[in-house]
C-alpha cells in the first residue's frame, strides 16, 4: 500500500473543525495517519490547493433496474456523450444516465469517493449489486425500498414493530442494503391498481394502514435496529403543487420519536416536495416554510434535489408520479411495478429556463440551501439524474458560493418565477468550509459513515485535492474558477491510492460496498422467519431460498455490524 | 397429380421442437422429425393431394426446401403454413430486415407443392447441401 504525504494544502475538514488551515495530510495503508516518513512517502505538493475529504453523495441513482431501464430507453442521450476506452479505463457512455464504468470515473474526476444508490427494489437487489460491482473506484451502498413491502405493511398494520424490525433486518442482509428507503409510502402499493394516496391519513386499500403509520412505524424500526442512517423518505405527493404541507406533516409526524435528540428522518430531494399552490398555474416556492421548520427542529436532515436546465432522465420508484409526469410532458414513459414491494417509472425530461415552474424549482433548491442556517442539515444533490446529472455539482457549488453566479442564472430565467422568489434577496454565500460540510462531512455524518467525510487519523484516506487557491481566488467573484476546480480534481485519492490526477483516471481499483448486518435476537427472528416462510410462495414468484443474495454479488463486501436495541 | 398452392409461411417455436432439441440434441432423429416439417391446414393438404408425412417442397423467393407435411393442430388456417424454427425453415425465410436487425421470419409468400419421391434431408445432409460443410 502506498504511503502518501499531501503537503501544504489548505485543508477543509469540518468534522475535525479544520477550516482552511495549511497543513500536511499523511496516508498509510489506506488510512489517514498522524505522520509518515517523508523519505518513504510519495509527496504531493498541494500548495495553493484545497484539500478536502473525498466527496460523499447521499442520494444518486447510479445503478439498478430502473437506472438501467433508463439507459435502455435513451440511446439518444448516450450518443452525444461517449467515453472511449483507454489503457486504464473501460469504454462507456455518459450524459444523464452514464454506464456503470463511466459513472465511477466521472465521480472520481470530481473528487467524489462515496456514493449512495438510493432506491433498490429488494427483489432486484442482485441487479443493483451486479451493476455496483461494475462501478469502479467509488465506495457505495444501496437503500432497499421497504415502504410498500407487503410484509412491512402487514406487520405495521398489526402494530408488530419488533417483528417488522426483524424482517427489515433480514431484508438488509438478504439484499445487502444500508438504509430504509420509503418512497411515497402507501402510494406504490395503491399504484398496483392504478391509484395513489394523497394524504398522510389516506388508507392504503386492502392493508388498513396509512402513510403516516408506515413512516412512523419504520422510523421506530429504524431506531430499534440502530441503523447508521435514518429512514430515507421520498414524501407523498412529490412533484405536486401544494405538497409542502405533506412534507411538513411528514416531518412533524416523527418529531416525538426523536425525543433523545437523535435524528429521525431524512427527506430526500426536498426541492420536489416543497411546492405551494393549488395547481401548476399558482405553484410557487414553499422553501421558506420548510427552511423555517428546519431551523427550529433538529430531528431531520434533507438534501437539495437541485434542478439543472438540461435534458435529463427522471426516474423514481414513485410510479404514479412518473405517470403524471408522462401525461404532463408527453414524453416516452417506462413503468416497472415490482411485485409485493414497489414500483418505478422513468420519463425523459427537459428543464427549461423559460418555464415558470422549472425556474421556480431551480430557485427552491437554492432557497433551501441558503435559508437553512445550519449546513449540517442539508446536503448537495440533484437527485441524479432526476434534477440533472451529477456532473453538474460543480455548478451548484459555484451558485451557492456566489451571489453573482446566481444573478447570472436568474437573469436568463423566467421573469415571473424570479419575481416571486425570495432568492434574489438572499445575499448568503457559502464558504469553502460550508461547501465541505454539504458535500462530504454532512452526508457522511448523516449516513453514520464514521470513517468517511473527514481527514482525522484513522479515517479512510479518501481525499480530494482541488486546484483552487483560497488566498488568491474570491469564489464570490471568480465563481467560474471554482466551478472548474470542482469539476476536475488535481488529485483524487481513494483508500490511499491516487486514482485521478488533473481530472484523468490513472488507476481504477474496485470500491467497497457497505451494508448493514444487524443482529436481532435469535428467537424473534426464528418466529418471524417461520411466519414469512409460510406465506412466501403466495406472495412472491421467487422461492424463499432463492431470494437472498450471496456475497458473490459484491466486489468488496463491507458489512457494518449493529446490535438491535431489543 | 395435384398442383401446388400459394400460401403464407410462418415459422416459430413448437413444444416438440423445444423438447427434442433439449432432450436429444440437434443431431438427433427426433429433432429432425420435429423441425423438418410443415404444418398445414388439412384442407390445403387435401387440395394439393398430400397425406400426413408426405414430402412437400416449400419454395419462396429466397430458396426452397423439402419437408414432411403434417396436419396442423391449430387449424383452421387455410392458406397459412408453419415450419418450426430450425435449419429447414431457414432455407426459405426472408432475410430482409428493413434495417431493424430482424429478418422477416413470419409472413413470407410461399409456394407449397407435393414432392413425391424426394427425400427430406437430415441435418448434416442439409448443411452440406446448403453450405458445403458439415
Amino acid at each position: 500500500m502506498a504511503v502518501l504525504l499531501i503537503k501544504n494544502g489548505y485543508v477543509y475538514d469540518p468534522i475535525n473543525g479544520v477550516d482552511g488551515e495549511r497543513m500536511d495530510i499523511a496516508v498509510k495503508d489506506g488510512k489517514i495517519v498522524e505522520d509518515v516518513d517523508e523519505r518513504e512517502a510519495r509527496v504531493i505538493d498541494a500548495s495553493g490547493m484545497v484539500v478536502m475529504p473525498g466527496g460523499v453523495d447521499i442520494h444518486a441513482h447510479i445503478a439498478g433496474a430502473e437506472v438501467n431501464a433508463g439507459r435502455l430507453l435513451r440511446p439518444e442521450d448516450h450518443v452525444k456523450d461517449v467515453e472511449p476506452r483507454t489503457a486504464i479505463t473501460r469504454a462507456g457512455v455518459g450524459y444523464s444516465i452514464p454506464s456503470t464504468f463511466t459513472t465511477g470515473y466521472r465521480y472520481t474526476r470530481m473528487g467524489y469517493t462515496t456514493v449512495m444508490n438510493p432506491s433498490m427494489p429488494p427483489l432486484e437487489a442482485r441487479h443493483t449489486h451486479e451493476e455496483l460491482s461494475d462501478t469502479p473506484i467509488i465506495d457505495k451502498a444501496s437503500y432497499p425500498l421497504l415502504g410498500d413491502s407487503w410484509f412491512v405493511l402487514e406487520f405495521l398494520s398489526k402494530d408488530m414493530i419488533e417483528e417488522c424490525a426483524a424482517f427489515v433486518a433480514w431484508m438488509m442482509w438478504a439484499t445487502r442494503g444500508y438504509a430504509i428507503k420509503i418512497v411515497n409510502p402507501g402510494g406504490l402499493e395503491t399504484w398496483g391498481f392504478g391509484g395513489n394516496v394523497r394524504d398522510l391519513n389516506d388508507e392504503v386499500p386492502h392493508f388498513g394502514i396509512t402513510p403516516r403509520e408506515i413512516v412512523r412505524g419504520l422510523c421506530k424500526v429504524n431506531k430499534l435496529l440502530n441503523l447508521p442512517h435514518t429512514i430515507h423518505v421520498h414524501t407523498n405527493n412529490l412533484g405536486v403543487p401544494g405538497n409542502c404541507e405533506t412534507t411538513l406533516k411528514t416531518l412533524m409526524c416523527v418529531e416525538d420519536l426523536a425525543e433523545d435528540g437523535e435524528r429521525a428522518i431524512h427527506i430526500t430531494h426536498c426541492q420536489f416536495s416543497a411546492f405551494l399552490g393549488d395547481d401548476w398555474a399558482t405553484m410557487e416556492s414553499g422553501a421558506p416554510l420548510i427552511a423555517r421548520y428546519m431551523n427550529r427542529h433538529s430531528h431531520a436532515t434533507i438534501d437539495m434535489g437541485q434542478v439543472i436546465f438540461t435534458d435529463t432522465t427522471t426516474m423514481t420508484a414513485d410510479g404514479p408520479f412518473q405517470y403524471g409526469l408522462h401525461l404532463l410532458s408527453g414524453n416516452k414513459w417506462i413503468n416497472h411495478d415490482v411485485e409485493t414491494e414497489t414500483s418505478s417509472g422513468i420519463v425523459p425530461f427537459r428543464y427549461r429556463r423559460t418555464s415558470r415552474v422549472h425556474a421556480t424549482q431551480w430557485c427552491i433548491a437554492q432557497e433551501l440551501a441558503l435559508l437553512i442556517e445550519d449546513p449540517w442539515k442539508i446536503y448537495l444533490t440533484t437527485d441524479h439524474p432526476n434534477g440533472g446529472p451529477f456532473t453538474s455539482y460543480p455548478r451548484i457549488v459555484s451558485w451557492l458560493m456566489s451571489v453573482k453566479a446566481r444573478e447570472e442564472e436568474l437573469k436568463r430565467m423566467n421573469r415571473r418565477a424570479v419575481k416571486r422568489s425570495v432568492l434574489p434577496t438572499i445575499d448568503r454565500e457559502y464558504s469553502l468550509y460550508e461547501i465541505a460540510v454539504i458535500t462530504r462531512a454532512g452526508p457522511a455524518r448523516a449516513l453514520g459513515l464514521e470513517n468517511k467525510g473527514h481527514l482525522g487519523v484513522g479515517a479512510d484516506a479518501d481525499i480530494a485535492v482541488y486546484p483552487l487557491n483560497p488566498e488568491e481566488v474570491d469564489p464570490s467573484r471568480d465563481y467560474k474558477l471554482v466551478r472548474r476546480a470542482f469539476s476536475r480534481a488535481a488529485y483524487t485519492i481513494k483508500s490511499g491510492e491516487i486514482v485521478a490526477k488533473d481530472g484523468e483516471i490513472v488507476k481504477a481499483p474496485d470500491g467497497k460496498t457497505y451494508w448493514v448486518d444487524v443482529k436481532v435476537p435469535e428467537d424473534l427472528w426464528e418466529a418471524v422467519k417461520s411466519e414469512i416462510a409460510e406465506v412466501w410462495e403466495d406472495y412472491y414468484t421467487v422461492r424463499f431460498s432463492n431470494y437472498p443474495l450471496t456475497d458473490h454479488y459484491l466486489k468488496i463486501s463491507s458489512p457494518i455490524t449493529r446490535q438491535a436495541r431489543m | 397429380m395435384a398442383e401446388g398452392i400459394k400460401v403464407i409461411l410462418l415459422t416459430g417455436r413448437t413444444l416438440y421442437q423445444g423438447t427434442d432439441m433439449e432432450a436429444k440434441g440437434k443431431t438427433s432423429r427426433e429433432y429432425w422429425e420435429a423441425a423438418a416439417q410443415v404444418r398445414m391446414d388439412p384442407e390445403d393438404m387435401a387440395r394439393i393431394g398430400v397425406k400426413e408425412g408426405d414430402p412437400v417442397r416449400v419454395s419462396t423467393a429466397y430458396g426452397s426446401v423439402v419437408v414432411r407435411a403434417v396436419k396442423s393442430a391449430e387449424a383452421p388456417h387455410p392458406g397459412v403454413v408453419f415450419i418450426p424454427y430450425g435449419p429447414w425453415a431457414n432455407m426459405v425465410t426472408n432475410p430482409t430486415t428493413h434495417s431493424t436487425g430482424m429478418p422477416s421470419y413470419k409472413g413470407v409468400d410461399a409456394f407449397v407443392e407435393p414432392a413425391p419421391g424426394e427425400r427430406v434431408l437430415e441435418l448434416k445432409e442439409l448443411l452440406r447441401a446448403a453450405y458445403g460443410r458439415s
Binding site: 469504454a91 411485485e339 | 440437434k26 443431431t27 413470419k106 446448403a130
Partner: protein
C-alpha cells in the same frame, strides 16, 4: 440418491425456480414441477452429443487440445478487422461481462439473440417506453390477460400456471387448482378427439373465417379473470381463451391501430379492418376498457411479422392509452432463459442493449447497421464468434452463407448446426446445470442459477473460456495482460 430443491430451469424466459431434481450419480432420475422442455433438459442432460475441441484443417474438423483451440480463436479475433461476437442468451451474466471486455479488447460488435427475437421490442421501447411489471403483479392483480402473437403453451409452458391465467394471487383468489385439473382432463379429451378426427378426415367445424371466436362454454368461462388470445393460428392457448381473435398474417398493425381508435371512442371510416368486422373489434375494445388491471403479453408473432418494431410500438401505445382508463401493462415474452440478462448486462456496460459496435473504442449502436443479421447480409464482418447459441440453425440462409465466408468460432457444450460447420469448436460446460451464475427472468428479475453437476473434465464454464481467450488476445497484441486488466476483470 440426492434431492436438489429450488433448482432454476435454464430453458425459457420464465426462469422457473422451483424445480426439484432427484439425482443418482451423474444422472437425473426425476424432475418435479418442470414443464416438458425443462424436464427433458434435465432428464436427458447426460445423453447429448458433447463437443470436443476442434479446428478445421483442410476442410475437416480435427480434434485438438483445448489450449490450441483457444489459441486459434484468439488469433482469429486479434487479426479480425470487424469481428462479431454473437450469442449470449443461454449463458450467465458473468460470462457476458467477460464477453464485453473481449469485445472492447478486439474491437468487435457484441450482439445477442435479442437481435433476432425481441430486438424490435427494444426499438419500440426506445420510441415510446413500456408499462412493465414483474410477473407477480400479473398473478396478484390482473383481471384481464391478453396474449398477442405469443404462444405460451408451446414456448413458455408454465407461464399460464405460474404467472397468469391459472395462477393464484392475493387479490385474485383464483379457481386455478380446479381449473388445472379440469384443464388437464380436457386436454386428454381433446387429444382423443384429435385422434378421432384424423381418422374421420372430413369431420370439420363450421366454415372458416378470420375473426373472433369465443371459446366453447366450459370450465374456463366462469373465472373472474378473462383471457384474450390474438394470433394467426388457433394455438393451444387460443383454445382456452374467453375471446380469440384470429388475424391474417401481417395485419396486426392495422388491428392495433383500430383498437386504439376504438378505446378513444373514435369512429372508424371503414366497416372492417384487415378482414375483421369492426363490431368484433368493438367488442374487444369493450373488454379492454372494462378491465381493472390488465396485461398484454406479446411474442415474436409481433416482432417478426411485417412492421416489426412498429407493431410493438403500436401495442405499447395501446397499453399506454389504456392507462388513462385502467391500470394496464405490457411485457415481451422473452424466449431464451437469459436473453434478458444479456440485454441488461450489455446495457449497464455500454448504454445500449444489443447490437453494440465497439470497433471504434466506444459503444455505438444502430440496429440495421450494427445488428448481426444486417452485418452478415452486407458481408461486413470478417470473423464470427458464436457462444451459447446456434445461429446456423436459426439465421436465414443468406446470412449463414456470408458467415461461413470467414472464420467461425463456436463455443457450445453440445453439437449443434453451428459447431458442425465451424472452423474452431470450443467445448463448454452447461450453463445452469454444470455452472451457476446469474440469469434474468423475462420481467428483469435476477435469479441465481444452480450448479447441479460438476462439468466433465475439459469442459470449462463460458466465463473461464472467454477469460482465457481474452488473455491470449492480450498476449498476441503484445501487451502484458496484467497491465491492462481494467476494474471489471
Amino acid at each position: 440418491m440426492r434431492v436438489v430443491k429450488d433448482v432454476v430451469c435454464p430453458f425459457c424466459g420464465c426462469l422457473c425456480d422451483d424445480l426439484e431434481l432427484e439425482i443418482e450419480g451423474r444422472e437425473v432420475k426425476a424432475v418435479r414441477n418442470a414443464c416438458a422442455v425443462g424436464e427433458a433438459k434435465f432428464l436427458h442432460y447426460g445423453k447429448h452429443e458433447r463437443t470436443r475441441p476442434m479446428i478445421r484443417k483442410n476442410g475437416e474438423l480435427v480434434e485438438v487440445s483445448l489450449d490450441e483451440a483457444i489459441r486459434k480463436a484468439a488469433e482469429i479475433l486479434a487479426e479480425a478487422k470487424y469481428p462479431v461476437l454473437f450469442g449470449w442468451s443461454s449463458t450467465s451474466c458473468e460470462a457476458v461481462r467477460v464477453g464485453l471486455q473481449l469485445a472492447e479488447e478486439v474491437g468487435a460488435i457484441i450482439d445477442h439473440c435479442s437481435s433476432v427475437c425481441h430486438g424490435p421490442s427494444v426499438l419500440a421501447i426506445q420510441e415510446v417506453g413500456l408499462a412493465g411489471f414483474t410477473l407477480g403483479q400479473s398473478r396478484h392483480r390482473f383481471d384481464l390477460i391478453i396474449y398477442w402473437g405469443s404462444n405460451p403453451l408451446d414456448s413458455h409452458f408454465r407461464h399460464f400456471e405460474r404467472y397468469s391465467t391459472f395462477s393464484e394471487g392475493r387479490f385474485r383468489p383464483s379457481i386455478s387448482r380446479r381449473s388445472i385439473t379440469q384443464f388437464l382432463s380436457t386436454l386428454a379429451e381433446r387429444r382423443i378427439k384429435r385422434v378421432t378426427r384424423r381418422l374421420l378426415i372430413k369431420e370439420r367445424e363450421e366454415g372458416f373465417y378470420f375473426g373472433a371466436r369465443r371459446a366453447p362454454s366450459g370450465p374456463f368461462k366462469e373465472r373472474d379473470r378473462k383471457l384474450i388470445v390474438v394470433d394467426v393460428r388457433r394455438t393451444r392457448a387460443a383454445k382456452m381463451a374467453d375471446f380469440f381473435l384470429q388475424v391474417k398474417p401481417n395485419t396486426d398493425y392495422e388491428i392495433i391501430q383500430a383498437l386504439r381508435m376504438l378505446i378513444r371512442d373514435m369512429e372508424l371510416d371503414v366497416d372492417e379492418v384487415a378482414g375483421i368486422p369492426v363490431e368484433v373489434l368493438e367488442e374487444l375494445a369493450d373488454i379492454l376498457v372494462n378491465a381493472k388491471v390488465g396485461v398484454l403479453y406479446f411474442g415474436v408473432g409481433l416482432t417478426m411479422s411485417k412492421g416489426k418494431h412498429r407493431n410493438i410500438e403500436a401495442a405499447i401505445s395501446l397499453v399506454r392509452d389504456l392507462n388513462a382508463r385502467a391500470k394496464f401493462h405490457i411485457l415481451p415474452m422473452r424466449g431464451h432463459y437469459n436473453v434478458t440478462g444479456a440485454d441488461v448486462v450489455i446495457t449497464w456496460t455500454t448504454g445500449y442493449p444489443y447490437a453494440v459496435d465497439l470497433t471504434q473504442g466506444y459503444p455505438r449502436y444502430n440496429p440495421g447497421e450494427t445488428s448481426t443479421i444486417d452485418v452478415l447480409l452486407r458481408d461486413d464482418c470478417d470473423a464470427f464468434l458464436c457462444i451459447a447459441s446456434d445461429p446456423v440453425a436459426h439465421f436465414p440462409r443468406r446470412a449463414v452463407e456470408n458467415m461461413l465466408k470467414h472464420p467461425l468460432i463456436a463455443i457450445d457444450p453440445v453439437v449443434s448446426a453451428t459447431t458442425l460447420v465451424a472452423d474452431v469448436v470450443i467445448p463448454s460446460a452447461f450453463s445452469g446445470i454444470e455452472v451457476g451464475g446469474t440469469a434474468y427472468r423475462m420481467d428483469h428479475v435476477p435469479i441465481t442459477l444452480k450448479k447441479v453437476f460438476e462439468p466433465p473434465e475439459g469442459y470449462l464454464p463460458d466465463e473461464e473460456i472467454l477469460k482465457r481467450i481474452l488473455a491470449e488476445v492480450r498476449r498476441i497484441k503484445g501487451k502484458a495482460a496484467e497491465a491492462l486488466v481494467p476494474a471489471g476483470a
